[in-house]
Symmetry: C2
Subunit: 84 residues, 2 copies
Amino acid sequence: MINDDSEAKQPIKIKSTQDLGQLVREYRVAQKMTQADILGLANTGNRFIVELENGKPTVQFQKVLDVLDALGLELAVRINGSLK
Amino acid sequence: MINDDSEAKQPIKIKSTQDLGQLVREYRVAQKMTQADILGLANTGNRFIVELENGKPTVQFQKVLDVLDALGLELAVRINGSLK
DNA sequence: ATAATAAATTACCGTATGGTAATTTTATTT
DNA sequence: AAATAAAATTACCATACGGTAATTTATTAT
C-alpha cells in the first residue's frame, strides 16, 4: 500500500442524507463494527441503521446523533465554505 | 460594547437538538431574518421552524439541512474531539 | 461448495411528524 | 399606550417513521 493511514481526519461536509449514510457506513466498516454492534450502543432497531446508511432523508435528527456518537463521531455546524 | 465581532467563526459542536435549535435561532437573529423568511427559502412550514429552534429531537434530518442551507450554514462530521 | 455471519427486506402497526391556516401570545416600534 | 410585527400554539389530518421480529439476500470464512 502507498499510504497506510489514508483516512482523512478532517471534517467531512454533509450536503445530503446520502452523504451522511455513506459516511456512516464507511466509518462503521473501517471500525470493523457490524450494524448489530451499533444497535446496542445507539439504542435503535436494525431498520433505522439500514435506512440511515441508505440515505433516507427523513431519519430523525437525535437518532442520527446517537449513532454518530456510538461511532465516535460528532456533528458540527459551520459557516458555509469556512475552512472549505 | 467590548467586542463587536464576538460571533465565533469556528465550527460549533452539536451534541443535541437543543444545541442545534439554539444555534439556528441565534444565527437567524444575528442575520436579522425572521422565521417567515426561512419558511420560503427552506420550503417548510412555521411549525417546523418553531420545533427545530425549540430543540425537538425528532425533526427530520434533511429538513434541518434545508434550513441550515437557507441560513448559509453547513454540517460537518468529524472524529470525536478532533479539532476540539 | 457449505456453513456461518452480516446486511437487507418485509409485514404489522402504534405513534408522531409536519403542512396548513387560524388564533393567541409575545416582542418591537412609533 | 396603540399599533404593528414576529413568534408560538392549536386543531385537523394525511402520511409515514421506526420498533420488532421473521425472512431473505449477500458477504465472508472454513
